[in-house]
């Protein structure tokens, strides 16, 4: 070390850069870090535990009942002929566990609801993003999103009491409570989902594209239908998929308004029973450890798988869209 360097290091005694960190501060910082880490991890662990429980209980149904019995079973009638039957009769002396009527019931409510909600939701999204003036939009969008937060039991109750009677008088359906009434109820929840996400997707399209279209002499409608909607296609379809997932997972509305008869039908005016309503209605009364009990968990697995895949697809589409729109 030469003289100059010695002089340089000797200054360290009274330098203002040399203050040592207090031990207490260091401990406090690491405790705060630990607290938030634990909370974050705990949430994840609870969810994982729920999955484990669901799958553990659900797969035991396969030991007792068998995968094919969840689709159909054979029964011999009194005259000796053998019939393939698709019935959900878990509490009978001769129990039948076919999920076909329940899956069909779910689709019979979720698909019409998604179609209705796509028409109104996408139209509302277009209105919010492209037509409404900004002040209106600031007022309307939160209002529409608020709709999605109405407790579904309230919507179910309204459909049960008022909606069902209204459509009964108007359309004279086969059953007063039916798939159609339930899908109207579901639409109240899904329209806000689709409208809000469609608005997000359209809003993310750069304004330059609108200017380019207007500059070429396009009308507002031509700009929306030929430039904005195609450019936002992936986002809009993601919103529809998410809405469909919500329709499949929704419980209270279908439990109250769909009639809950496990019909196999393509008639939208007949009662149907969905997977979610089955779990909700029967779980309270099933004896724990019975075949019926495990089969309800198996329905849970089927539901979880369907909604998980739908959400995953939507998530992938939305992520891809985000990447594409960042120039």
């Amino acid at each position: 070390m030469n003289e100059k360097e010695q002089e340089f290091y000797s200054k360290s005694e009274d330098s203002k850069y040399g203050k040592k960190i207090h031990k207490f501060t260091r401990t406090k910082e690491s405790l705060i870090k630990l607290f938030f880490t634990l909370n974050g991890v705990a949430a994840l662990i609870f969810i994982i535990l729920i999955f484990i429980f669901l799958f553990k209980e659900g797969f035991r149904a396969l030991e007792h009942i068998g995968l094919l019995d969840f689709l159909y079973s054979y029964r011999t009638a009194a005259d000796g002929t053998t019939k393939t039957i698709f019935e959900w009769y878990p509490t009978s002396d001769d129990p039948r566990f076919s999920l076909v009527p329940l899956i069909l019931g779910t689709l019979m409510t979720a698909i019409p609801a998604t179609i209705i909600s796509t028409i109104f939701g996408v139209a509302a999204g277009i209105y919010l993003s492209e037509v409404a003036n900004p002040k209106w939009k600031e007022f309307l969008k939160p209002l529409i999103e608020l709709f999605a937060g109405i407790p579904t039991v309230v919507i179910g109750f309204i459909m049960l009491v008022i909606g069902a009677s209204f459509f009964n008088d108007l359309l004279h359906p086969d059953n007063r409570l039916n798939a159609f009434v339930a899908s109207i109820g579901l639409s109240f929840v899904i329209i806000p989902v689709i409208a809000s996400l469609t608005e997000d997707a359209l809003h993310s399209i750069p304004n330059d594209l609108r200017m380019a279209s207007y500059g070429l002499g396009a009308t507002k409608w031509q700009t929306i239908s030929k430039v904005i909607l195609p450019a936002a296609f992936s986002g809009v379809s993601a919103s529809i998929i998410l809405g469909f997932g919500r329709a499949i997972g929704e419980t209270m509305i279908v439990l109250m308004a769909a009639g809950n008869a496990a019909n196999i039908t393509s008639n939208i005016f007949l009662s149907v029973r969905t997977m979610t309503a089955t779990i909700a209605a029967e779980m309270g009364e099933v004896s724990q450890g019975s075949d019926h009990y495990y089969s309800l968990f198996f329905i849970g697995i089927v539901l979880f798988t369907i909604t998980f895949i739908l959400n995953l697809i939507a998530e992938i589409i939305i992520n891809r869209m985000r990447k594409k729109n960042t120039f």
Binding site: P206, L209, R210, M211, A212, G215, G217, A218, P230
Partner: protein, 252 residues
């Protein structure tokens, strides 16, 4: 001087309470290049958008005065704005191609105007691409995504797309400001070719560019038209002190 194409008289424009253009009166000649220069915020881009009523799309804009193209007041309340914009093409600062194929981008304008014949559309694509000097680069890849082109190519494709609706006037809002020197040179060459057939109005930050491409130059400052004259005069012997200071780089 050539025939006059566009006339503005005592044009005032307000964004809310703020006046952005003050008493602009000028005549833009037919089949010539007219450049608008001036520092940022001087109103030159706003004035350009007055000429095809693009400002209508912005809330809170109020316009007073007269703008006439071929003797027709385009701010008359019965004017069909959509038809007006079809006849006045526009090229923007940032290339704003649609996320569609190269071919689809060019035929968008003709298609919304009712041309659906495949053969006619093909002819339009070839003609406009040749005119905008990009045909050799895109003729083999017309069905590729337009956004896969380079920045300079995208901007020339924007010009081709504007030409496809057969406008008589083309407005360019700093068309080369985001481009490298070689692409800029190509755009300038293109502007030079296009003025045989079109009336071109160009906004530019780049004074050398204005000097190179334009026949007439208007200098704007703080919403006012300071001086408007032949480009050679503006750059060699301006009559106003402010213009001289700006073009010689003393302020701005």
């Amino acid at each position: 001087m050539k025939e006059i194409k566009i006339v503005t008289k005592d044009l005032n424009l307000y964004y809310g309470n703020k006046q952005a253009l003050k008493n602009i009166t000028l005549n833009i000649p037919d089949k010539r290049v007219t450049a608008f220069i001036g520092p940022s915020g001087c109103g030159k881009s706003t004035f350009l958008r007055v000429l095809n009523r693009m400002n209508d799309l912005i809330d809170n804009v109020r316009i007073e005065g007269e703008v006439s193209v071929d003797g027709v007041n385009i701010y008359d309340k019965n004017i069909d704005v959509v038809n007006l914009r079809k006849n006045i093409g526009m090229v923007f600062q940032k290339s704003n191609l649609f996320p569609k194929t190269i071919y689809e981008n060019i035929v968008y304008g003709p298609k919304i105007n009712g041309i659906n014949d495949k053969k006619t559309l093909n002819e339009i694509v070839e003609r406009t691409c040749v005119q905008s000097a990009i045909w050799d680069e895109v003729k083999d890849r017309l069905n590729e995504n337009a956004l896969s082109l380079s920045g300079g190519q995208q901007q020339r494709l924007c010009i081709a797309r504007a030409l496809a609706v057969e406008p008589e006037i083309i407005l360019m809002d700093e068309p080369a400001s985001a481009l490298d020197p070689i692409s800029t040179a190509k755009i300038e060459e293109l502007i030079h070719d296009l003025k045989q057939r079109y009336t071109i109005v160009i906004v530019t930050h780049n004074m050398q560019q204005a000097a190179r491409v334009s026949d007439m130059t208007a200098f704007f400052y703080l919403g006012e038209l300071i001086e408007y004259d032949r480009t050679t005069k503006i750059f060699t012997n301006p009559s106003k002190k402010q213009t001289e200071d700006y073009v010689t780089g003393r302020f701005g």
